[in-house]
């Protein structure tokens, strides 16, 4: 009809709004169907588009949105094992399982992700030191390959594809369903404490002290607080309560950013002020909060990525081995400050040593730092390249799910298993990210 305008192209972007991709969305609504094909183009599964950079994009090629693969298949409430299609959204799954006394054993910081996306990015959460990454709880899944083969993958069955698909960025085929082993909970509430700290040493001390007795730990840091690379921040830790209360007493008004804000809005002074405010409102205290409020505070502001304007932003998350952590993190924060670039939300967290089955899995023992920066073009990119060098020197790596710019060389150093992984990549599948990091 005449009064339609086209919005399809803009619908499938990544969370950082950067880079932009032109891709054809193929219709796929039934997991028993064969994969849709387009002549000569590669395909890539697309979930909720919550990865920040280009792992969910397939520029000049095709994507398969998985939103219609949203059926549950089985839920064994005795064993706590749930089997569902890959497009099921975590928020729906949680609404279903929490009142029944279960929780997802590893959760990212948003519930607006698909289960397939959680597998493909092998997501981690505030309990990495205790549980490892999400891949450790994926007991089985089905992979639909472009040659039409359907393969059930478990740690014992098709183990190579199992290991490649966990953290495999959607490149090994379409995950049609996933079976996950859930965690038992005795309450939908978290007993949480927040503790202010003044220096990085303080952070390391509190982190070490908390690891044993707290299931969830994470720290926010004020990246603007000190020019010498030191920083103040707030340490959050939490444990599941056991009070048998599974009712979520609603909730604040839903907020949202209706449209792209002008990109100058989040300038250095505003960011600085925000960080100051955030520090001052978070005093030392203990609280009882619902799981949703503890894990997903940013979900309350829908489309918060529009705050950064149409140029979007870069998120940078790296992990640094223990012995190098303090020095490297200091140098990175110092570089931020000297470049007059600051981060809206900066997060610091200790990873444990539980290995993921995933070949390209990001988390490993050490400390992870996540920063985000408004996209100021070359200036921002140069700084992030400098970050990469520091992380390389320290023997760390950078998280592909949040990346839009790391070089092919850096990727290959960060992920030495890439060659083994590329053997398992489905030849009909590709992504903007993959072409970028495989470029000669």
């Amino acid at each position: 009809m005449v009064f339609l305008w086209q919005s399809e192209m803009h619908k499938y972007q990544s969370w950082g709004k950067n880079p932009h991709a032109k891709q054809t969305a193929l219709y796929y609504s039934d997991r028993h169907q064969a994969l849709p094909v387009v002549n000569g183009a590669s395909i890539l599964p697309y979930g909720m588009g919550r990865s920040y950079g280009d792992v969910c994009l397939n520029d000049e090629n095709a994507i398969i949105p998985t939103s219609r693969l949203d059926h549950y298949m089985e839920f064994d409430q005795e064993k706590g094992v749930i089997k569902c299609e890959a497009g099921v959204c975590l928020s729906d799954l949680l609404d279903l399982v929490i009142p029944r006394g279960y929780f997802i054993p590893v959760t990212p910081g948003t519930k607006n992700v698909t289960i397939g996306g959680m597998v493909a990015n092998d997501v981690h959460g505030k309990n990495h030191h205790r549980a490892g990454s999400f891949g450790n709880f994926v007991t089985a899944f089905e992979l639909l390959r472009s040659d039409g083969k359907r393969l059930i993958c478990t740690p014992d069955k098709n183990p190579d594809l199992y290991r490649a698909t966990i953290g495999g960025l959607g490149l090994t085929g379409l995950i049609t369903w996933v079976e996950i082993s859930l965690e038992t909970i005795e309450s939908a509430y978290i007993n949480t404490e927040s503790i202010r700290f003044q220096t990085i040493e303080d952070f390391f001390r509190i982190s070490d002290d908390s690891d044993q007795s707290w299931e969830y730990t994470v720290a926010w840091i004020d990246a603007f607080s000190n020019k010498s690379g030191d920083c103040r921040g707030v340490f959050f830790r939490g444990n599941h309560m056991r009070d048998n209360d599974f009712i979520y007493k609603k909730r604040s008004m839903p907020l949202g950013v209706p449209l792209n804000m002008p990109s100058w809005l989040l300038n250095r002074y505003v960011l600085k002020l925000f960080n100051k405010l955030y520090y001052s409102v978070n005093r030392n205290k203990a609280q009882r909060v619902h799981i949703y409020d503890f894990f997903y505070p940013l979900d309350k502001v829908s489309a918060w990525n529009k705050m950064y304007g149409k140029n979007g932003f870069y998120q940078y998350q790296c992990v640094i081995p223990d012995d190098q952590a303090e020095m490297t993190i200091r140098s990175m924060l110092k570089l931020c400050n000297s470049n007059k670039q600051g981060s809206f939300l900066s997060v610091l967290k200790k990873f444990g040593d539980i290995k993921s089955p995933g070949l390209l899995s990001f988390p490993k023992k050490g400390y992870t730092l996540a920063l985000d920066f408004p996209n100021r073009g070359k200036r921002t990119l140069n700084m992030l390249d400098a970050f990469d060098d520091m992380v390389l020197d320290a023997g760390g790596s950078v998280y592909p799910a949040k990346d839009a710019r790391m070089s092919a060389d850096s990727f290959k150093c960060f992920f030495p298993a890439w060659q083994e992984f590329s053997q398992q990549v489905d030849r009909g599948f590709s992504s903007s990210f993959w072409r970028r990091v495989m470029a000669e």
């Binding site: 339609l4 086209q6 399809e8 609504s29 059926h71 298949m73 569902c84 279903l96």
Partner: protein
């Protein structure tokens, strides 16, 4: 009469029907899914059961109209009757193909209107007998005015809307609700080849509107709501002008 309310969904694999079933899954309904594709029905049943619902399915091709009476009889025998019926099946024909092949046009009219009115007539008798019931049928805004781009579909849906109007008139004395649902553009497998724009809605949103209208015992709804006004304008255009428009 069963203690639980029973919802019978005809064309249960349709995207809108699936969402309606999910919307009411937390209610204490027994949901019976009728469709042609056994595998899909099995999947949908499993999905509703995991969500905490009670669901069962029956495989039938509703184009076989001679079987309609038996289908309804079986449902009554097996489940002790039913209270709500959602008629959700339909196909969106290719207008040009209908013009080129009159058999195709007849087939489309059979699916979208003849078979629908046939099974609803069987159900109407049942509801009159039990003195209560709710009939919800998915028609379309396309049935409000004929346009060259899809008037076979429009004719079938228009006929369905008129049929439902008459049925409502007849059944209102018997405590039976008849709800005509007129969705606009909905992003479903039926419309997968269309370019989508701002007027497009999702099956979830349409399903929400349907359930709300069902509970309020409404007669006719447009969904999303703004289609009421779009169609109002379209219906107002004089035919002398309308016939020259490229719609």
């Amino acid at each position: 009469m069963a203690t639980k309310k029973t919802l019978l969904i005809l064309g249960a694999t349709s995207a809108i029907a699936q969402q309606v079933a999910r919307q009411v899954v937390s209610r204490d309904y027994r949901i019976i899914l009728v469709g042609r594709d056994r595998q899909k029905l099995v999947d949908l049943c499993a999905d509703l059961q995991v969500r905490g619902g009670t669901a069962d399915y029956r495989v039938h091709d509703l184009l076989e109209m001679t079987a309609h009476e038996q289908i309804i009889k079986n449902v009554v025998n097996e489940y002790g009757g039913f209270d709500i019926v959602l008629l959700a099946y339909g196909t969106l024909p290719d207008q040009e193909q209908c013009e080129a092949d009159r058999n195709e046009a007849v087939k489309q009219l059979n699916i979208n209107f003849i078979s629908a009115q046939n099974i609803l007539s069987v159900i109407a008798e049942r509801f009159i007998e039990q003195g209560q019931g709710q009939i919800i049928a998915i028609s379309s805004v396309a049935g409000d005015r004929g346009r060259k781009s899809n008037y076979i579909y429009g004719a079938a849906k228009g006929a369905l809307s008129i049929y439902l109007q008459g049925l409502r008139n007849r059944l209102s004395a018997h405590n039976v609700q008849v709800l005509t649902v007129k969705p606009g553009f909905v992003d479903t497998p039926m419309t997968k080849d269309f370019k989508k724009g701002i007027l497009w809605s999702t099956p979830e949103r349409v399903a929400k509107d349907i359930v709300r209208a069902m509970d309020k015992r409404r007669d006719v709804i447009y969904t999303p709501w703004f289609w009421k006004y779009i169609m109002l304008i379209i219906k107002f255009i004089p035919e002398t002008i309308f016939k020259k428009l490229n719609l």
